[in-house]
Subunit: 246 residues, 2 copies
């Protein structure tokens, strides 16, 4: 068995997300990749990502791996993928990996970016890649609120995950709010994120930025352990998986 | 009569260009604006731009003006336009202008940017906004070639314009090649450009960058005064009108 490590970027606008849906595999990024690789290697290929991304979410850097029974040169694989993948999926690197490398189990931390366009008119070049909130946001209050999310917490209030057996305890290393050409981006770096966690944290930070909630409310929300206490789920098209670290 | 100066940005992907086409006015940026403004002011409005942009060409900053017989507050006009214009057209400023201001006649110089994505895989977030040339370009040679285009020249070889009465003499102040996240952008600053001039200059500079033509060939092309001597017309989707100066 051979193992390959692959890094890729994708515009998630047209997809149901990373993970194969049994009825519509070709509407997922995983399904597109498995389809093209399966044809090249002439065997069923399973592509394992660092984690799934939801419908409409983009990736500037997703990492995955896949096993094959025959060996092909990475350069040959790259040329084939460039020819047959759609233009909204780009492979940024493809390398031979050790047999033990597993894109999900070996992932240490991840960085996400959530893009918010605060212009009065939405920037026409960011419409698909940023959430349009044409308001002046109180950035210092958002930073204060974000500081309460740092460290290890039970993020039960910040997920729509229903599975009660799975732990909702996660660790956030940093949250950085940076200016962009048309607004701000909020970068989140952590050891892993629950379903919808980044989007619910963003929706809640926006409530603070808009003056609908005080920064200290974050403490009450964390303690309450109920999804109903946090802000709305920000839409998927503003979210980018930025980096996966090993 | 009242006169308004308007600055706007647009993603030209879905349009036949700036200028109204008699059979399909709503497939042009001018037509979209005139339609919405006409409804607001309840009179026919003509919007005069600094110059037309071709089908598929974008603008980060286009400038235009329009006259009305009744007066409305710029803020009211902006709110109405935001409500009724599609998301690929954004008004970045709208101000009262002196009666004599004319967006085309008063324009002093323009800046265009042509974006080239040189990654092996096209960047998924730039597919609509950059020309994909997955090759390593010889930038110093491109800069040498560009230097021969500076100053006042007869650019007859660099236009597809057929009108023999119109002068083809133009002045280029500067051509700057800058790196971007996925390749390069070539900025052109001049007192005005002929039809397809920026795209033909770009196609010719690319021939030099790819090693198909020597930088000195530019001199022969200028002297020859024939479109057949220059390189191909680079596609419209990589071109942005960046700035209009008064």
């Amino acid at each position: 068995m051979y193992n390959y490590k692959i890094s890729l970027a994708y515009d998630g606008s047209k997809y149901l997300g990373w993970q194969v849906q049994s009825n519509q595999p070709l509407k997922t990024i995983q399904g597109k990749l498995e389809n093209v690789l399966g044809k090249l290697f002439d065997e069923p290929i399973q592509v394992i990502a660092s984690g799934r991304t939801d419908a409409g979410v983009h990736a500037r850097m997703q990492v995955a791996n896949f096993h094959t029974t025959t060996y092909k040169n990475p350069e040959e694989i790259l040329h084939y993928l460039r020819q047959y993948l759609p233009q909204d999926i780009a492979i940024t690197s493809l390398k031979d990996a050790s047999e033990r490398f597993h894109a999900r189990y070996n992932c240490l931390t991840k960085r996400y970016g959530y893009y918010i366009d605060t212009n009065f008119f939405a920037d026409p070049f960011s419409v698909r890649f940023a959430y349009h909130v044409p308001e002046s946001l109180h950035l210092e209050k958002m930073e204060q609120a974000a500081s309460h999310l740092l460290g290890t917490h039970d993020f039960k209030s910040f997920t729509s995950m229903k599975n009660k057996k799975k732990s909702t305890i996660k660790h956030i290393h940093s949250i950085d709010i940076q200016p962009t050409s048309c607004g701000i981006v909020i970068y989140y770096h952590g050891n892993g994120f629950l379903q919808h966690q980044v989007r619910i944290m963003t929706g809640t930070l926006l409530e603070v930025g808009l003056g609908h909630m005080e920064p200290e409310a974050i403490l009450t929300i964390l303690e309450g352990k109920s999804r109903a206490l946090a802000g709305p789920t920000a839409p998927s098209h503003g979210l980018f998986l930025e980096e996966v670290l090993y």
